[in-house]
């Protein structure tokens, strides 16, 4: 009887706290920002940027900039594909466009997400364990993966490159390469894969695997440097390979590989003493940034340099001319617009908050910047 008197206040109490009530969990909507950097004459429609997101956060997101409208769309995957459970996934690692399809490599979700390159609508996914980078060649996509078939030593499995048919999106072949392979590139029907061996520290791998594409077999492993990461070709089919070093005694380095005239074999011809972290090509120039940690000052030293790929000489150690490099905490991605030569640099900040994408004109002045998702990293341009 008396208990009833208390029900009302109790109910009020519950209601009161319910002012901060749960609502239906919404698919996170896309955010748009007007950048206004319109460019309609050339063959480039826009670009995609994949934000990696910190491991376990499931915050790999996709941003898109459209040169027609001058609009930057932040996190548009979930809105375009609302019915995909748990969205794009955990830790994006690479992005690429081939034909009409966009491929996003989502490392910790162990899959390559395939979208329509113009609409961003999902076409399917290819499950590849611990996948890293994607490249294309003759109607096929190739994805490097840390996990190859378990052969001799189950505790140290070698990595692999998976071949995907871009029409059926099925894995057609795979080949075992070195330990923990990263970037790769195809030159004259041979694929070159940078092996890191990152899981085996301190016994890093130091080789570039050579895969003969017809039989899809590893035919050679060329020793280059420890803990290899980037491997990109310039317009003269030279390979530019980076070594991350061991973060302690052996510094990060940049190597150049090319074929001797009359031979089909790539050999290391130059070692350039820069701690190159990432690079992008534009004509005869290679834009790169190099980040080095100094234990003594407890700070990073960053160089934004240019190398002439013909002479392999550093022609500038600062492609940013207006001092805005001071605003960049940790550069994490670089790309150059293939037509205008605009340089894009991403800042991953502290890895657990929104990053920033900077656009610099080819002469090194900041044009604009925009807030991105967490750890903005990889950019690919969309051709009309």
């Amino acid at each position: 009887m008396k208990l009833r008197h208390y029900l009302l206040p109790l109910l009020t109490l519950l209601l009161g706290a319910a002012s901060g009530c749960r609502e239906d969990e919404l698919v996170v909507p896309t955010e748009y920002e007007i950048i206004g950097d319109e460019y309609r004459d050339g063959g480039i429609r826009g670009f995609y940027l994949v934000n990696e997101g910190n491991m376990g956060s499931n915050k790999c997101t996709l941003d898109y900039y459209d040169y027609y409208t001058g609009l930057y769309s932040r996190n548009f995957y979930a809105e375009r594909n609302p019915d995909v459970i748990k969205e794009l996934g955990d830790v994006g690692n690479d992005i690429g466009i081939y034909g009409s399809k966009l491929y996003v490599v989502v490392n910790c979700s162990h899959k390559v997400e395939v979208l329509d390159a113009h609409s961003g609508i999902r076409l399917g996914q290819v499950d590849i364990p611990n996948c890293r980078y994607v490249r294309f060649h003759r109607g096929r996509a190739y994805v490097s993966s840390y996990v190859g078939p378990v052969l001799i030593d189950p505790n140290a499995p070698k990595g692999a490159v998976y071949e995907i048919d871009t029409l059926s999106l099925a894995v057609t072949r795979k080949v075992s390469v070195g330990y923990q392979p990263e970037e790769m590139e195809v030159v004259d029907d041979y694929m070159y894969v940078a092996n890191s061996g990152g899981y085996r520290a301190p016994e890093y791998d130091n080789t570039v695997s050579v895969i003969q594409m017809v039989d899809f077999k590893q035919v050679q492993q060329i020793p280059v440097g420890i803990n290899l990461h980037r491997l990109k070709k310039d317009r003269y089919d030279k390979l530019w390979v980076t070594s991350r070093g061991d973060y302690q005694y052996r510094p990060s380095r940049l190597y150049v590989m090319q074929k001797k005239p009359g031979y089909n074999q790539m050999v290391v011809t130059d070692t350039i003493p820069v701690a190159c972290s990432n690079m992008a090509f534009y004509g005869d120039y290679m834009y790169y940034y190099a980040t080095e940690w100094n234990n003594y000052t407890a700070s990073n030293t960053v160089i934004y340099g240019i190398i002439d790929v013909r002479t392999k000489e550093i022609i500038s150690d600062s492609f940013i001319k207006d001092g805005s490099e001071k605003d960049i905490t940790i550069p994490y991605g670089i790309a150059v617009h293939p037509e205008t030569g605009d340089i894009f640099v991403t800042d991953a900040k502290n890895y657990v908050s929104s990053g920033t994408l900077y656009c610099f004109s080819s002469d090194g002045y900041k044009k604009w910047s925009v807030r991105t998702g967490d750890i903005p990293a990889h950019i690919t341009f969309l051709v009309k």
């Binding site: 706290a17 002012s19 901060g20 239906d24 915050k59 019915d83 955990d90 499950d127």
Partner: protein, 678 residues
């Protein structure tokens, strides 16, 4: 008489409406009602024969004890702590999931956890997993902001920014009784099987012992659900899955002996916890199962001697601990990991108090602590640490006014293998506690405290692979607290007890140790970078009513307001944003009715909206959650045997929520407990 009671009730209703209105306005008040620790000490007085009554705390703790604690639908100590104000529990879900606590937003590493008088340590990462401590043998849990305001305590106890004291059951043997035994069986959702037993023996007139054993086995499997709608209100996806790899198989063995001496008492404990657990991991796109497993063996022995000799009292403690953690990652898609970590700890403490006059006491204490960590990880530097603590404290009791002042000096020396060790560190932590009764009847009191404390960088912060930074300095915290307490008890009236407290505080965390990006792709180091400004209000309330004969109603609640903002650098995206996982509003309410051996308990926990990363943006928004738990228990006796049956339903409304992003919590779940005592 009856008229009088009705009038009382009306007055009372009015009071309730005021509170309810306040709540509605959003300034949610109230609740809690945690028993002062001194009441408990008084109870224990009757059991442990000590030569004199322990001194009362200057600022009483929030305490949950006895039957009340065991009716609270709690699986572990961490669950019970949710009923304390100012506390946030990080819960990764399930029976075996890691659970850590954060007091007043200062960070888990600032929380001291004391088990039967001796602090638990983890030099590796500084965090104590409270999910490992079952409530089975716990008699009381107390939370002290700052320190326990008592001066006869180990020097180290003056150090933490907030401290949780867990006390196990002391043998209760009546005159002439030579033994006492209890057996409990719990079973429920997640395939839980949890039998435990306790035997208490009188070994001699002055010595008693207890042996407590427990086994927990659970598959950790539970259903969870993720559901999203698009802004138009249409269903985007709705999926229910079963949590995998969250199994646990654990045993706990604990042997205690208690002795009384003509001038004091002693206790000794041997403790062993053994577990194998799956680590369920984050649920992300395309990944619903992981392959990580952890084996823990935590063993320690400790002893404590208290002596009273006239004006002089002494408290001496010894502990040796060995923790072994074996971590394996079996996931075929990831790097294989198989690491063994071993931690050792030796602790010796002596605290001594001298009563200068009847109202004025002073104490001095010295602790020696040695920690080591060994791991079969490449390049591991095998650190060990010698910490020395020297405390001086004084307490003044002027009847209506009490105060305590203490200072703790900490001296830390690290050694590492094959490299030059960082320089020794020393830190001074002063604290002042005051309490006054402005009214003569002592129902009402005002309290104030100020404390400076720090946390040492852990072995992981300093020496972990290439992430650690051996140059780190301690992370510092300053706390200011002002509070009011109204505490009224009357044994025979409609309201048998009423208690309301309110505390406002300001904390500042300086040189906060944060991960900072380093060098090339995705590598970190630790730096003393952060600066956090915390302002909060803790409210607690308790009321016990006796509306009719044997019917007792207890309502208690707590409300916590916290504004904890990051003020490190105005250039950061998250400058002045609320720090991750700290809700602005949180609270709990408990209603309990007891009638002739029956007990009905309803509890409600609310955690407001928070952000799962530093930036307070939509992408990092985490919804509020609130769960209702109910339990019914009945005590009865068959001849000499007393029994209790307890049925608990947790998450009654089956809310689908995450405490930590991507770590889904269980839907509605059940547990049944049968306890037999002879």
């Amino acid at each position: 008489m009856k008229l009088f009671r009705t009038a009382g009730l009306l007055r009372h209703l009015k009071y309730f409406f005021i509170i309810a209105t306040l709540l509605y306005v959003g300034f949610t008040v109230e609740v809690m009602g945690v028993q002062p620790a001194d009441t408990l000490s008084r109870q224990l007085d009757e059991i442990v024969v000590t030569a004199r009554k322990p001194n009362e705390d200057i600022i009483p703790a929030q305490t949950l004890s006895g039957d009340e604690l065991h009716r609270l639908n709690s699986n572990s100590v961490a669950d019970a702590l949710r009923y304390f104000s100012g506390v946030q529990v990080k819960d990764y879900g399930g029976v075996g999931g890691i659970k850590t606590v954060n007091i007043r937003s200062m960070g888990t590493n600032h929380t001291g956890v004391v088990y039967d008088g001796v602090e638990l340590g983890n030099a590796q990462n500084g965090q104590i997993d409270l999910g490992q401590f079952s409530l089975d043998n716990i008699e009381a849990i107390s939370l002290y902001n700052g320190q326990k305001s008592e001066i006869l305590q180990p020097a180290k106890d003056f150090g933490s920014a907030g401290t949780i004291y867990m006390r196990t059951r002391t043998p209760v043997l009546r005159e002439g009784e030579s033994y006492h035994a209890r057996a409990t069986m719990r079973a429920g959702s997640f395939d839980l099987l949890n039998p435990s037993a306790l035997i208490e023996l009188r070994l001699s007139r002055r010595v008693t012992a207890s042996l407590s054993a427990e086994w927990v086995n659970s598959s950790g499997k539970y259903k969870f659900r993720y559901r999203r709608v698009n802004p138009a209100g249409e269903l985007a996806y709705d999926t229910t899955a079963v949590r995998q790899n969250g199994d646990i198989n654990a045993t706990r063995l604990e042997l205690n002996t208690y002795g009384s001496l003509p001038n004091g008492s002693w206790t000794a404990k041997v403790y062993n916890y053994n577990s194998e657990r799956g680590v369920p991991g984050a649920i992300v796109n395309n990944v619903w199962r992981r392959g990580e497993r952890i084996w823990d063996t935590n063993s320690f022995m400790q002893g404590q001697y208290t002596g009273y000799f006239g004006r002089f009292s002494t408290l001496n403690t010894f502990k040796y601990a060995f923790y072994r953690t074996h971590y394996v990652n079996n996931d075929d898609k990831q790097v294989k990991i198989d690491n063994l970590y071993k931690q050792k700890e030796v602790y010796i403490s002596s605290a001594n108090e001298y009563k200068i006059t009847g109202r004025w006491r002073a104490s001095a204490g010295y602790d020696f602590l040695w920690n080591s960590l060994d791991a079969d990880v490449y390049g591991f530097v095998k650190p060990d640490r010698i910490s020395q603590f020297l405390s001086v404290a004084t307490a003044l009791d002027l009847d209506r006014f009490k105060m305590q002042a203490s200072a703790l000096g900490t001296f830390i020396h690290d050694r590492i293998k094959g490299q030059q060790a960082p320089a020794d560190r020393h830190v001074l932590s002063p604290a002042v506690y005051m309490n006054g009764y402005p009214l003569s009847n002592r129902d009402f009191s005002i309290r104030v405290f100020y404390k400076k404390s720090f946390r040492m960088p852990t072995f992981n912060d300093l020496y972990y692979a290439d992430m650690g930074n051996s140059q780190l300095s301690p992370e510092r915290v300053t706390q200011y607290n002002v509070g009011l307490l109204y505490d009224h008890t009357a044994s025979s009236s409609f309201i048998t007890a009423a208690r309301v407290s309110a505390d406002a505080y300001y904390n500042r965390v300086k040189d906060k140790i944060v991960a900072y990006p380093k060098g090339q792709q995705f590598r970190w180091t630790m730096l003393n970078l952060g600066l956090v400004d915390i302002r909060g209000v803790d409210l607690t309330g308790l009321i016990t009513l006796n509306p009719w004969n044997d019917l007792y109603l207890t309502l208690r609640g707590q409300y916590t307001f916290q504004r904890a903002i990051d003020i490190t650098n105005p250039a950061d995206n998250y400058y002045r944003d609320q720090i991750p996982y700290i809700p602005r509003h949180s609270g709990a309410a408990v209603a309990n009715a007891q009638w002739r051996g029956w007990s009905l308990n309803y509890s409600w926990i609310y955690v407001g909206e928070r952000y799962n990363q530093q930036e307070n943006i939509r992408y990092n928004y985490t919804q509020p959650w609130y769960t209702s738990d109910i339990s019914v228990s009945k005590d009865f006796t068959i001849r000499e045997v007393s029994l209790r049956g307890l049925l608990e339903i947790n998450n009654l409304l089956s809310q689908d929520y995450d405490v930590i992003l991507n770590y889904p919590m269980p839907k509605r779940n059940y547990r049944f407990t049968l306890t037999v005592e002879i």
